[in-house]
Symmetry: C2
Subunit: 334 residues, 2 copies
């Protein structure tokens, strides 16, 4: 279990490692301990433990060798030894894994509490259900606000947050977006000669930009999910599949836009330009968003950054540049 690539990558960013979220107030005994003695400990100091749902068995070196649920302890005879009833196939997390792993391990295996071990498999602590839920909430909130271009500081979600504080958390991503928009504007201006001889080109800017952004967002969301759930997935096979999807969707939308253009605008050259631009920019964007997310995760950065305003700018600017470059080419040829 938990042979994830995250493990080796996560050295920085210590505050989000699983060992910062664990408690040491759990029940652990030698495998030869009896149920009677464990019940005695519970009778005298159950409330000193943060979690009593599971009892862990550790050997003389502190190595985690088994686990028994409290329900099973309560139902077992007093003389029973831990090792007679324990489950030796214990699912655990390594101390330097990213905290988010706790959520997916809990979901996958239906666990309430997850033990955390070091590289020698010594038990260091456990992550309780409360921590798992709050880790999930933290990751959910971070992801949500990052994708929406809102700085995820505390105290955003309240009726009492003053207008100015909300302006402050919303301004930066809009500002970066505006800079990107100005770059896009200057690209369009540079192609003004193409545009003035073929004014209808302007009409299709929004739809091309929209489709490219949209396929990029989809690709990014899917790969970020997989990075969280199955961090060890085969990258090149995945990227290849994404390129195939990009080719299919790019082709379908190019064909539909070509037909729509012929029906609605009756300008065959423009139809070819729009179709080609959509085809190539959708493929490029599906590939680029996927690859950027994987690269960010390899660099120990949050892959969700790839959905932020900077990624949108790169997408918009390359799309518009590609559109006008194709337009210039096609209009010169024919």
């Amino acid at each position: 279990m938990t042979k994830s690539k995250f493990e080796n990558q996560e050295k920085s960013n210590h505050e989000h490692l699983v060992d910062t979220k664990m408690t040491r107030k759990y029940l652990a005994f030698s495998p030869s301990e009896t149920v009677e003695r464990i019940e005695d400990v519970l009778d005298f100091k159950a409330r000193e433990f943060e979690t009593i749902g599971y009892v862990y068995a550790i050997d003389e070196n502190g190595i985690l060798v088994g686990v028994v649920s409290l329900k099973q302890i309560l139902q077992s005879k007093h003389g029973t030894q831990l090792k007679e009833i324990m489950n030796t196939n214990v699912i655990s997390l390594k101390q330097h894994e990213h905290q988010e792993r706790a959520v997916y391990v809990a979901l996958k295996h239906g666990l309430k509490v997850i033990p955390v071990v070091d590289s020698e498999h010594r038990l260091l602590g456990v992550v309780t259900q409360k921590s798992i839920l709050s880790i999930f909430h933290h990751e959910f909130r971070k992801n949500l606000f990052r994708t929406s271009g809102i700085k995820h500081v505390k105290e955003i979600e309240s009726m009492d947050t003053p207008v100015f504080s909300l302006v402050k958390v919303r301004f930066p991503s809009l500002f970066i977006g505006m800079l990107g928009g100005l770059i896009a504007a200057s690209i369009v201006t540079n192609f003004e000669h193409v545009l003035s001889s073929y004014i209808a080109l302007a009409s299709f800017i929004p739809v091309i930009v929209y489709l490219t952004d949209a396929i990029g967002t989809q690709s990014q969301t899917l790969v970020v999910r997989l990075l969280a759930i199955e961090p060890g997935f085969p990258v090149s096979r995945y990227v290849l599949r994404e390129i195939k999807i990009g080719i299919i969707l790019g082709f379908v939308f190019a064909a539909m836009l070509f037909v729509a253009e012929i029906v609605g605008w009756q300008q065959i050259k423009l139809g070819i330009v729009v179709g080609m631009a959509v085809f190539f920019s959708m493929i490029f964007q599906a590939f680029f968003s996927t690859y950027l997310s994987i690269a960010l995760s390899r660099m120990k950065k949050d892959p969700a950054i790839a959905s932020g305003p900077i990624a949108t700018i790169i997408s918009d600017v390359t799309t518009i540049a590609m559109y006008f470059a194709i337009a210039m080419m096609i209009l010169q040829i024919f």
Copy 2:
């Protein structure tokens, strides 16, 4: 606790109500029951219960009157009665609340298990930590995929999902987006006479569309969070605050774009058009996204729909129409 507006609204959509996610395998006794008897039950059949972390006290009518943690039970003397140690201030959920409330109640109050009661406060069941985590995961996934324009069917997140299945879940939102883009294209075409006499107008389409979409996404995310966390917030005060934020951000970006236009393009009329368009469309979008999300939630629809492709189309089309209408006005006046 749990005096939410959701309660009255949620009649349809039964599969997502909290009472479909609860278990009836919990420990409940009369308030006069002794610790000894409870421990006996645990010794004989602990494993028949899905959750034993809390023991609930119910009166002769089944009404929930108190709760005691298992830790406290284990540490109490055998003769102690439940009513001597129980906490009478029990946090619970009403059976017809949306399942998502369980997550926020658990987070807010640090609860592992939440009892569910009917309108007479009779105990119907409990939502366990496992259910809370899986509800949260369901809501997280739904929200993530919906915002990204991916149909949230099962089996999306796997290396083994075939290309064609992935094309199918990604196609619909792109298609709707394309239709919107074609509407936008025909609007631009209708204003071609304005555009041909003022070709530089085309350059600013991407930045205006981007800023309007972006502020709308921010507004929508913030109000959807508040609807989940504090469903009973004062709507008109909230909308008013959002309009104020829209006015400030709209003004700031209008001013910056005006200056950028003057510096980079030196066309004062265009600067005025771009500034005015950004100002009005950002305010409108901040208001519209907020209002639409609240209205959807009142109609028992998922407010996150407001971040989907249809909302983006409405935003893009109104923004572009507004931009060209303002352009026509200003260019005629001067």
